[in-house]
Symmetry: none
Subunit: 333 residues, 6 copies
């Protein structure tokens, strides 16, 4: 056996093992918590499909986040949920009068000035069609109109004080369109664009989220497969990331997480100069939660292993519903 083939010596001790694990450390700066904000101010609602995750109103949210900030929380990603405001064709609940996200941005920037506030930019939770954009008269996705509409939505969030706007609709050209709005408003130096650049049309891992955000598509004629990427496609993933980089995205995202780590690695290798986010989505959360509940493994072990794996694959920041659990673990460590 050539000496170079003897590997045990390099990882025989817990400390040497840690040295072999390049850059997989987890700290609160590398975690972002997805938050559901409803238009019912004092709401605290359970979400059946996501055990231990809740929806909050703008009155209840600051207290909950303040608590988490005391454990290290640094950033949130806001998703709006409409309970009272009616959905309509243009998704005006996204950024119009009474928009829960706009209200939440203002209250968080005011009450928790140290918290970084990112906002999902899409229409699916606000349109009567449940579609991630506007439709033509023939019921087809109207990309130009959708992009214009959502660039305006992003600008409203930016003006309200969002640090980051995160377009998730996979519309062609959305990043560049938002950037131009920000430049016109002289906000381009202050507000970042985090692109959901590589978002796959997972057939199963988004289910729990859709009921949490009440954004499941209503019609049967339209599927999200026309804009979210085919599960098996590396090519479109690479083209989408390249496009968003060229259009000026400040950060990139791959979504879902665990079963897409190869794409995370390839995206990081191709665009090493852009911070890379990964979204551990609702179906992953559920699967780990129920696996542990049923004795397959210990939940904390499993969550920490998947977080380490996501970091190993090249993710710089992890968006996860497990953020409160991990903050707890980091504090007790």
């Amino acid at each position: 056996v050539p000496t170079e083939h003897r590997l045990h010596s390099g990882y025989a001790h817990p400390l040497t093992r840690s040295w072999q694990e390049g850059n997989v450390d987890i700290d609160p700066k590398k975690l972002m918590l997805p938050v559901f904000v409803t238009d019912v101010e004092d709401a605290i609602e359970d979400i059946d499909s996501l055990p231990d995750v809740k929806r909050y109103g703008v009155a209840t949210l600051p207290g909950v986040l303040k608590d988490l900030m005391s454990k290290g929380l640094k950033s949130v990603l806001l998703f709006g949920v409409l309970n009272r405001i009616p959905k309509d064709e243009s998704g005006s609940g996204a950024d119009g009068e009474g928009s829960p996200v706009v209200a939440a941005i203002r209250v968080l920037r005011d009450k928790l000035p140290d918290l970084l506030v990112a906002c999902d930019v899409c229409l699916c939770a606000y349109t009567s069609t449940g579609h991630c954009g506007l439709l033509n008269s023939d019921g087809q996705h109207d990309n130009a109109a959708s992009v214009k509409r959502m660039a305006a939505q992003a600008l409203v969030y930016a003006r309200a004080g969002a640090h980051i706007v995160a377009p998730s609709s996979m519309s062609d050209g959305i990043v560049g369109a938002i950037k131009k709005e920000l430049v016109s408003a002289k906000l381009d130096g202050r507000v970042a664009v985090l692109s959901y650049a590589v978002k796959f049309a997972s057939s199963c891992f988004y289910g729990p989220f859709r009921s949490a955000a009440q954004s499941a598509p209503k019609g049967v004629t339209i599927s999200r497969e026309g804009y979210q990427l085919p599960v098996g496609s590396r090519g479109l993933a690479h083209r989408a990331a390249a496009r968003d980089v060229e259009e000026g995205a400040d950060m990139l995202m791959v979504k879902p997480g665990m079963a897409y780590l190869d794409i995370v690695r390839e995206t990081k290798d191709r665009f090493p100069n852009h911070p890379l986010f990964i979204y551990q989505v609702s179906g992953e959360y559920s699967m780990l939660f129920h696996g542990a509940e049923n004795g397959a493994f210990d939940l904390e072990d499993a969550v920490m292993e998947t977080f380490k794996c996501m970091r190993r694959a090249g993710a710089d920041v992890i968006i996860s519903y497990f953020t409160p659990l991990v903050l707890e673990l980091l504090n007790n460590h």
Copy 2:
């Protein structure tokens, strides 16, 4: 929006979507079934930790596999389980008198000549210590002795008729040692070595298997972390694969699967000329099973998506307990 930035056009139709998904087809030739064989000839035992998976004896196994072959099954990976034969320091139950694996090889080659038979080569299911090798007098892993012992074990399986021997112990130099034995026995042209080259010390995903194979380590002083790779280590993964390629491995494996797809991609990119196997391990099986049981998603959708993801990441062959389910789906498709 530059025309090159408009991507929707390329995947608007189900067929164009399929074209975007390079090489992600699943067919029976790309599937391998892990099988637990006990030394109780007529056994059919449930495994608590792995719902719907069973242990068989050499009398019951051929019938079950014949059935699956009618649905397309092409290959199996055998793991021995000792119920009657006592475990000892040298793991003689692995390949000695009454070895369930040796018996199974013989009966399968005889009764199911069209089935490819691969055998896991390790001692952990047979040693009284539950260790994947032999120990020195001071209780430390003795790599040289372990390699010698397991090369002999592999040769017994090869002589019994195994098409593939698959060393899983992560011993330094094991691939080269087995190859030398095969050459000496003039079996090198007939028997392939599938190396578990990149096997991580997962803290949670191996649990159900260990009770299935009754191979959990007994002592507390020895951990498998001294030979299985640290979860976060890309470097050792690359060195281990390179080493085994240099020592003559015919095929490589990455294990576990889902949370390690970045490593699958990197291994495939570095060693494109070697068929790459991926092992969807017991913890993954459980997690998907229980996620579906609890309503997070549809099991068939989830299994097919993860299979497609593993293929997208570069795996050529998938070793999975879901093989029967997938064969069923392929037949109904």
Copy 3:
């Protein structure tokens, strides 16, 4: 201005700035403390050339390190200093009767079992010539004899319980020679070799160390430039690292640190699979210390910036006399 040329948006906030700083976190596992051990058991000696650094005897060392371990210290690198034992031609004080390093290994393994103990392997602190090896009868460096002598020294340290042996002499072939000794002694799976693979003949940054370790060369005819690398040589740096990787080094080192970060980056890029150490040497320590003393900058700021820079350049572990200060800062952070 193309949107892609607008960079401010990506680092306008302290948290987004941290995301742009890929993998530069400092934690105690990434720090190693160099320690001078004398053959005077109860010594606590100031070192004029290295303010705030001391030499300890084996009786005083454990207490000091235990204290630092309570603040997070995980590993040390031992250098022996002879005050009583006479130096001789073969450097027998390195590993013979009364060797301070051997004594220190034993006491540290016994009293501080959680501490990883690494040992510098060289003769310069023990030979009457102050040379890093043995000389021929004509006064020239005898590489073959030196390698044999230091491989034996390494084995003594390994047998005494060192987790890591770290040859620093830049002798041709020393890594392979040590590895062979460890294999023969069946210690190859437990003891790692950290090679000072890329050690430059700095004309100024080693001065304070040499008086700390009392290892300045005595003669005028022999210079270390015959084995330490020329300051401006990238080529030899790359060849030396490649050589040591081929000979089985488990980890690599670049030395000195700050003014050699380009070599750190190139070494990491060429050998990404090996943990990379950087030694922030005595002259760097002094320069930062005196710069701060004279008001050029704040010491803590300067140390943390240089540590971040070393991490950015690709170092996995930093060996530094500032380790106690940094542990303090990490605890108060």
Copy 4:
């Protein structure tokens, strides 16, 4: 030991050592002297924070530089300092009536026609806010207005006879804006743009300069971290250099020097076709100066080693306060 592993033979002699040091030679053409010019014509002022460095007026400067030119000095980089002219919001002292830099360009081009004159282009030494640009009414950096203002400043310097204008503000788009001004004025074939493309927000190494240039920011609400790069960020460094190359920069700079040599190497490797400058900044100067003063090393050795290291890392031209010392050494060599 394979013969290829024997490296000593290649650097056993001083001349062979020099051959191993590829392209690290230092000559006067590769040195640029930073010069502080005040608006007090006959000034010769000491700078407390930078021992041995002085500020000069336009009457005293030519004589001093003529002397250095007799020792080989080829180029200077001018920084203006206002003692009499009041600072204002638009930094009109930079290029308006009585601007010390404009006056210096004219006198130097007239009296020392063989001297290449480069000018720092920024506003921080001239604005009442101490900010590197103009502010919006809400006190935020106004990038568009800043770029326009500084492009005009650069044109004034170019028209006065500067050979090189060197924008240091890290404003997005400044290089392209200056180039366009030069093209309009038909000066694009004669005046080069040296971009401070990769300028890090060092927390400690800029201190002495700021008091030398009297340019420390006045307010507390604005930090330079919004435009200077995060210390640990490779990604932004690469993006900034790429941007400036695309916008037409003739030469690039990395700043600070010593602790950023990895970035120097990466920048040279990515943009090998552009001459690369490195700025050994004031904090580095101080640290080497005080290290030597306190006996850690010999100043001349240390300076020459750091210069060689900067050249090894890929720098083509070194901007340093040690230029007079090095010219002296080269003359005596």
Copy 5:
């Protein structure tokens, strides 16, 4: 015209032009003088084919070289010429009794200790056949015997004090054979091997040398094309350099120079870690000399341009008969 397409600005001034010329400086350390030494001690002989070049004996050589050393000369490459000693089949004049090279090494090491002495290792100037090696009984090149013979010759030179031995015969395996001799003699750490790794069978540029060294092949049946490389072959050039690197060459050479600069560049790119020599051969010398004599150009301009071109192509050291002229120019510069 895009600003990036405007290049004039970057080289409008003599100093900016010099910055664009990366690393093409010429200094005495980068020059090596080829020297012809005859076995007539007090000889000073003109060479018809090489105007201004002479052959010296060991009595006259030191004075001439001392003079050149006062102008900067650092190294010589010795070629022996036999006037008195008869040539024989084994080329015993190369290293036997009265060998002019051995005598010259000794006298130069004694009288000019600061001069680096390199020696050409070949037999063509000493064999009665004029062949670069030994012949089989059938008159064919005997590679094995030749290698053995010339490895012995190299060892004689090394023992006499040569710093560098330079095998020029293009024998297969000669570098490794010489290295092994040096290791056996414990001279491997002191004596370097400079391989004429890439030596082409130029049909015209070697003519003047052969009459200078009196080494033109005598027979008609043997051509040097059997071992020197075909003029148009890049492939063999790359293989030869790779081979010699693997066999442990410390430095490499390409020969001839001017018309082979593409090979110089490719060799440097492939083996950047080895100092690269280029031999400006006799035909190039003559061509430049006579071109200038006939008014085509100024000799000094032409020589300096070709030297700069050789450096630009990647040569680290230039071996040239123009060395005295260039030293003169550098002194007057």
Copy 6:
């Protein structure tokens, strides 16, 4: 000696040697003849500086070329020389009334329809200043005006029937400007642009040409170093070629030839999809001619070796005054 290190076997025979020489064949299609055309119709003038080369008038030229075509000549590159027409500031002799080049294009297209006619596009042979362009009122190069002027010149040649226009002035943006003119004139599909993309400011190799073309600069204030590239600059060479490729050049040229083969190789490697021309310039012609005249080598051998070297370096077409000699050799071969 490893078998892979034995190279002689691959080139022991003349035929195997030829196989080792990739793509170095010379045939008439790969040769282009530079031709000097004067405005004296029946001229046949000797050129002192270029023995055996002559200037012709439009009446004498066709006969001479017809002769060469019978030996294989396929293409010429025309340079105009003014004997009668006065030079002026705008170089109107280039393309105005009586232009020798325009006249030659017409007569050659008429009388020798199978000959490809390329024309040098520059003003230096026609301006009273001898400058390659127009000057500003302050005597500086006016790039914008020069580009406009020479694009018009190219269009005149194109309209007269030139197959190729070859801009040689190294003006920034000239290729793109000519392309635009050709497009406007709907000639872009018929007329190719061969860019002198990489033309170095050789200090010596252009001398004989300048007296042949009577184009030596007249003034002393302007040097061609402001637009021709610095001899040692790889960076500008690469940027210039890239620029011209982006601006639409159909073919590229490197000039001069022999001492710039490294640049030929790098240009071919970077732009493999564009035919690459090399210009063996007048100084090279002279040097080879006089070298041979003085007995250093045989002229035919030397010319053929340099041609082979240029082809080996990557040149597709060779422009040389030796074209008639080589055609002769090819016919006799």
